[in-house]
Symmetry: D3
């Protein structure tokens, strides 16, 4: 997906230059993983034009495999981004209707071949939100992954402005989540997508308490027996420049809580959740017996994402580990 | 329509900055006229989002009336532009499918009200190329304009990459041209849109001879009895930076030929035809008895457009007249 | 007026690019009002050159009427802006001497015609500071407005570097304020312009207490019997990036106090007062019986201005209302 | 003087970025000379503000002495530049009225001290065009230079838009030229400033013939007996991007003609004449017995100036000499 | 290698922004081939730092294999580029001393493994120019390639400013060329590197005649019996913006001559020879029985390179073929 | 030294534009002093190329004398800078190996002549870190300065990534410090360079207590009897955007402590220590009997440096004094 952002804090009407980068939920996770040295492929459908080819080049530069991309369709999805400041919120104008991936059809991707040497499949709630076709293909993939014994993870990623092809998230998502092993979301996702609601938490501003999410996690695991871990990202929106950030992981028995970071001078908040997921998959693959460490890696990685421009997290393992070890001083390395 | 251009001569894959301006056939003509002090309204359909509102602000800055715009639909049409050099051609990637105007419907524009104090209606062959709906509304407008005795002009403007909703230009355009008083086009348009072909002219490179177009003009006027003037733009593509530029006007009796300009260092060639049309309408309205002068104004105006960045022609009347009078020296005015 | 700003936090000597926007006290208020959908005209004098015409185009893009501008004179006023950070103050270098508006003369503007369908006239203390001529024409306008029963508002707007044509603000302003119904200022304005001084308030840093300004407001209303409301903006300058911001309104009987906002990451502080005035006029026109709400709108609107680049406030009514309702979280809208 | 140029070929109304450089007739000559290693001071009057200080820093970076600048006055002169292309001319909007140097007064510069170790004084026709004061001080300087036996050169530099303080160039300039040893100008300057007219030369376009200027030179030397050399720059304006360029020198006995250069892709034409003068002074000082070589250096140097952005000529002696020797191939040096 | 170019036509001292791209003789050929869909690896030595990693990302984005790069050493080579115009030549400031590749040592690259599935090895005269070590490793590679029956090509690429480690090109190159099957060069290379000199050709300006190079080619093939084809690039430097461009190929029996292109508005001339080589290798691999067509592809491809910014040729096969077929009109594709 | 910085908070791999400025420990101090009006020369060795000449021009623009620079050698040292945010640290990639100054040799600088009218010599620990040659010349200079009775100051400036020519700072620096009168450093410098360690101070984050450094200062003065003052900069790294900043001065008898500033929105932290030194030298020269004031000037000056882009401190004396007097409000000056 092409992201076109007004530079700095300019409003859309103020700039005749737009900064073009590429992003999107699943792509961002793929870049994170490639960046940590994990072999990864991005599977999508792109139109045969120069803009989409530039998108593919971008993915290749990060080391993301692009051989499994299906080429065809009318257009590349676009979103326009205006970055807010203090009490002025950032604005996203979606222009994703009729994108190549929204018109993907079952059978276009040879999932069996795609999954041949894979051991993990990740999807997000954005894909089924785009169109019935995309939702169908997403289900097709999840079912094949389940069949082949591949771990499936998802980020619920509720976007109210996207669900407009006639079905609600609540109607479509449960069948997909049912085939998923690892579920990531925030408080709003759980409520809007799965109808599960935390208690006593004010999501608009200030600090949020992780403990309150155990009940949410439990409800999800009951509803979806395949699910082994529920991870909740905790964002406190002090203002557009200053967020607090943390996360909790429930494995059915224990609640792991990560430290809370104060991100006082956000550079780019978009892709924060995706970088959490990228960090989490890396963490779960790397610290196989240590969910606390995997969670800490995910939170630290995504904390660093907020300091990096664009959708993609370009923080290195060394930087994430330094932050995990407690050094948040930002002292110059020289 | 939003135009997103890679800066300078960069290829799409080379730049992460895109220059955003607004344009489109009819809008460009409207800006030309407003710039010459002619009261003008731009009638289209735009979606209710910040990108379209920025487009409206741009039109207002030039003095184009925007009160008659109909608001609704999914998206603003986009085209991506990569500027060529020497023997490398410029590239246009259209992303106009499903734009608000392509999904316009008959009855959405109150043409009677729109035309209340108007005496001229201009349309281009791009609109009916986009969708059946747009073609229908275009016909609706032409018929109402004919009914109300308003002069109708069109620019045939053949774009092969746009005609893909199942009909060809040849099937759709004749009915529209039939209601038109003033027809502008180049050699390719006449052939592809109306099946009328000039003789003995090589359109790929070098100078072209205006005389050969009398036969084309005559054929058009026979086919479409309402048509009073046929104007042909004459572009010689020496290379992407150097074009020759002229035009001829046939009024059914005489062929008026304008001088030929050598545009040796093109700044921006897009919108050249639209600026010709803008200059022509101004010329016909201003030099009411002097088609030669009207034509000369059109050619000089559009020659200057090639030196101005963006779709819109911002040359002033004084600059056009100076060039018409023969001063092409480009000497600094100070 | 042309504003030429060094980009980012660069000093004048560091940049060979200057960002050109247009602004000025009254123009900024006009843009605010146009932006809220209030029909508004900007009345000034501009020289007949391309720079001033670009300024007019900018105003038109926002929907501000420019038909009443008087054309003539030598030059467009300029100010150079260098943006400070933390404890380094922003710098303004004025280059307004001999601007077209400073050499305006009585009779040049046909005020009776200008005011024909108007019901509000706003002026600022910057105009009479520029030249005796400008002061004279300002008085001429106020008197005509009074005569025609039009509400008059002013922003005292003291600028010590501007008053250098031989008279002090204290000598010129009272006669103008005498014809004014709504007076806006801050503590410094009241003291320097009208000789009225609050007590026990440290204006250099930290939070300021609104209550102390009742005495100031009362003194103003006694001195100027026409005055119906005195509004005071309350800025606490923690540092160049972080200000607190609020305001109080005294209607002769009650003191209305707005909430105080912490603007922790200022984008552009210039035009803050003008956006307050724009919000206030909108508020007083809209919430006709509710001064508290009008004040709250003004404070929230101008709080948002600090997050927007340039002199003009481009915050929407929806954004202002969201902040008025207490949502200062800056969460992404998507 | 501050030059504010719209970038690339953008019109004033198209850009919200202006490129700021410093320039002006005499300053440009000073930079040329400093660049060739000739010790040189720039004498002017600048206001005490940060913009003028940045101008001083710029001069210092080139090695131009700034100790003799007189500080005071209201403002730094400005000119706005829009760069033309092909048949669209560049535009200059002067904003020099009331600049510090225009309000300079006799006695402000201690010319005797300034000239202490000097052997050359250069002035241009722009200075007396600005104001009576500037003309008076210019005369004061010339007279002192004459008194102290310092060579005086001038560039007639006629600018019709500047002469508007009530006197014409023809009234003011002769007295100044009378004290001048070396006079540079083009055909237009000679006519507008001194009333001397060449014959049979079309200045608007195409090639010009040097021979026709002997008569002009002779007339000047008769009118001004102090004058020892008259140099004429020969510009053929094919279009805004392509000029031919040469010059002739008349020493009272012989006409020296330089080769004519085709400058087919002009980068920046402003300051072309100044760079000619800079090259000429260098040439006359260096090739003391060889006026042909001095002229050739001047023409080659200023030919190269057309390939350099900004007012100042940054071509090196080596580059000028390479071109003088006939290598105009522009082959990469590596 | 990192290329740092002053933007536009600015001199080094004029810009505080440098445009960073990556390039270098062999890398440019690799990008060309990858761009045509030929599997290709770039073999070099890069230091372990973020700048070199960005270089690797750039190569990966084009699809060039980077797995065979050897990591180590002190620094990445740099060159600074200032782009000339008209008669002002471009300037290259090399800063390649002590680059990682200049300190490469025999044995560091496992050539046997590198060449495992390869059938072509290309090297350029720049590598042995850098250091004795680089020359040694280059020889090591050529010998292994010869041993394994891999086609070896080279571009003589003489750079006088690089040969400064104590040996001349004439001392080092012959041994390397002796192992080479396909030799590319221009007239200057042949003379400076191999001591072979064409007759009657003026290389500084104007058109050059291909025929004169048969004798040069013959001499090379006699001197180096392994050599099967000698290709000469023919550049006519009209000026820095306008070159003519062609090439000839001698296969021991016939001289194939390509058409000559007039490149009238060069965008970026650096990498022109490399893009010729890239096109030639593609051509020889694709049109296996048709050297004329291979040559024509190489000349057309590199003609297009001159219209593309940066060292790398991003012209597509379709664009090259269109030009080969004679369409140099640069008409917009839409 | 050339500094090439990725713009804004972009990572190296994200930007193809690098912002080029010049800097380096001693140069930064020189610019600070020149900026305060103190006559100062920068002594170094620069290669004869255009990049180094641009560096010289930059120094001249600030008024730093460049006549004593020795020209020769291979290259100008470079460092690449990536600016961190919040918990992501800034990164410096040094590319200084083999710079002209690192290959300087004893005898190249005529120190006796350089020091002729000087009364102060400043060096930093960066110079001896680069190479044995640079260390030798540094010692040569210190010894000559001692001989001629010139005050010598140094900034210990430990950079672990620079010391890689085979000796440690601990081996080289003591002999140099022994000839030094005024020693500046922070806690890390003292430990790594001189083996002197403060107690009970956590240097990674938060506030640091000045008192703890008395012991360090005493140890230094005992070890180096020539040393008259030890100054310690106190930086608390809350995060990459927010530092606290202060300093203490020990004169052998008293500890002077400066106020601590909260720099909450850092613009550019590089050169902070150099600006402290520049301020300190100015302070000691100006407030000759008042070490407290000299220290306060140094701390306030360097506090302001953090708000200025680039290595050099461009804060004016007036700005520093305003901050010293307690006004940290950053209110607009207009």
């Amino acid at each position: 997906m092409l992201r076109l952002a007004a530079p700095g804090y300019l409003r859309f009407s103020q700039s005749n230059e737009l900064t073009a980068t590429f992003g999107g939920g699943e792509a961002n996770v793929a870049v994170s993983l490639a960046n940590y040295g994990i072999p990864v492929d991005f599977v999508t459908r792109l139109p045969k034009n120069d803009i989409a080819r530039a998108c593919e080049m971008d993915l290749k530069s990060y080391g993301v495999g692009t051989d499994k991309i299906v080429w065809g369709g009318e257009r590349l999805g676009i979103y326009f981004l205006e970055t807010g400041a203090v009490s002025r919120a950032s604005k996203v104008v979606y222009d994703r209707a009729h994108s190549a991936v929204s018109e993907i059809e079952k059978g276009m991707v040879e999932w069996e071949k795609v999954f041949e040497n894979a051991n993990w499949f990740h999807w997000t709630g954005i894909t089924p939100a785009i169109s019935q076709n995309a939702a169908d293909v997403c289900l097709e993939a999840i079912q094949k992954a389940n069949e082949m014994g591949i771990t499936v993870s998802c980020d619920l990623n509720y976007r109210k402005n996207l669900w407009n092809y006639g079905k609600t998230a609540g109607e479509v998502m449960p069948e997909l989540v049912a085939g998923t092993d690892i579920v990531l979301g925030n408080e709003e996702d759980a409520e809007k997508v799965l109808g599960v609601k935390p208690e006593g938490v004010d999501v608009t501003g200030g600090e949020v308490k992780g403990e309150a999410y155990v009940s949410v996690s439990k409800q999800i695991m009951e509803q979806f027996p395949r699910c082994k871990k529920v991870i909740t990202t905790l964002r406190g929106s002090i203002n557009a420049n200053h967020n607090s950030w943390s996360g909790v992981l429930w494995d059915g028995e224990n609640l792991y809580e990560a430290p809370t970071y104060q991100i006082t001078h956000i550079v780019d908040r978009v892709g924060g959740g995706d970088s959490f997921m990228g960090g989490l998959i890396y963490g779960l693959l790397t610290y196989t017996e240590d969910d606390q460490k995997a969670l800490n890696f995910a939170v630290a990685a995504s904390c660093l994402k907020h300091t990096i421009y664009g959708d993609a997290n370009l923080a290195t393992i060394a930087e994430v580990e330094k932050l995990m070890e407690g050094d948040a001083s930002g002292r110059v390395a020289r």
